[in-house]
């Protein structure tokens, strides 16, 4: 009596082939994640420089997850930075290290004044959590120098 089984080896072989392709995609996806395509990592981290102003940030962020922008101010300049309001509106839990001495609003920017030793380069770290998904564009200004940057926030 033949085996009563509803098999289909042709279909199965095709499926095995698709399965191998899927494994390849999964491997590429995980490697991309490892290198920071979906968050922090070497691919994500980047620096922008405009004259003496330097900022370091991650291109790829995750929704509601901590991120930071490091701003290096050149020596001999007034330690004031302006961050575009449209950027501030799309982030939450913003904190600065060192903490700003004064904060005010001017020219569609939130401006922060810091008490730092102006004879040396100062590092200002802005920590925040993005509260909007998708493209996040921002501008940082210092002494009339503007740096535009964009980040992508994954859901």
């Amino acid at each position: 009596m033949p085996l009563e089984i509803n098999d289909d080896i042709t279909f199965q072989k095709k499926f095995w082939h698709i399965e191998r392709v899927f494994w390849g995609i999964l491997l590429l996806f995980t490697l991309a994640a490892l290198f920071g395509v979906f968050g922090k990592g070497p691919v994500s981290e980047t620096s922008h420089r405009q004259e003496n102003l330097n900022i370091t940030f991650n291109r790829f962020l995750r929704y509601g997850n901590n991120s930071k922008i490091e701003i290096i101010l050149p020596p001999g300049s007034r330690p004031v930075i302006g961050i575009a309001k449209e950027f501030i509106d799309k982030i939450d839990s913003v904190s600065f290290t060192p903490a700003p001495e004064r904060i005010y609003y001017a020219n569609n920017q939130i401006r922060y004044i810091f008490m730092v030793d102006e004879r040396q380069p100062s590092e200002i770290v802005v920590s925040f959590k993005p509260t909007a998904r998708g493209l996040l564009k921002g501008t940082i200004e210092h002494n009339g120098i503007y740096i535009n940057f964009s980040q992508f926030v994954y859901p």
Binding site: W23, L26, T30, A33, G39, K40, G64, N65, P155
Partner: protein
């Protein structure tokens, strides 16, 4: 990057932990084993996600775990040493009717476990009816009874 590293670390840690805790504990679960498993899974989930509750993180963690599992299954099918190290080997508990005391003790089973499975799976009544009892890789005990001469 962090999500992948976290997933790989937790996977390897759990693999080592479960492997060395002995297959009996996970293979045939008692109600306490079940509770233990729930607590472990709860603790592991914290380690896997950290403070990152984004959908992206969940997708990466799940994908990484599945990928390691696939890679390990390929390694297991290629190298028997790897297969033995990860999944273990079957252990004979009763061989041709003879009780293998050392194997039973070392694998933390007892005759009651063997009889339990013999009753449940084969409807056997006595130990003498069992020809072979094998503790399988998955923790299940297989029972092979002596052939019975059924006279009409």
């Amino acid at each position: 990057m962090e999500s992948v590293i976290r997933a790989v670390s937790v996977y390897i840690f759990l693999l080592i932990l479960i492997r060395f805790s002995g297959r009996r504990t996970m293979g045939q679960m008692t109600s306490f084993d079940f509770i233990l498993l729930l607590i472990i899974s709860e603790a592991a989930s914290t380690g896997l996600t950290g403070e990152d509750n984004s959908i992206t993180n969940s997708i990466i963690v799940i994908s990484t775990l599945i990928l390691i599992d696939i890679i390990f299954s390929i390694f297991k099918s290629k190298w028997s040493v790897f297969d033995k190290a990860i999944d273990g080997v079957p252990t004979v508990l009763i061989y041709d009717g003879k009780i293998q005391k050392e194997n039973i003790a070392r694998s933390r089973t007892d005759l009651e476990d063997i009889l339990d499975t013999a009753r449940a799976d084969k409807g056997l009544e006595k130990l003498e009816q069992i020809k072979y009892a094998i503790l399988e890789k998955n923790g299940h005990i297989s029972i092979i009874p002596y052939e019975q001469n059924v006279s009409a």
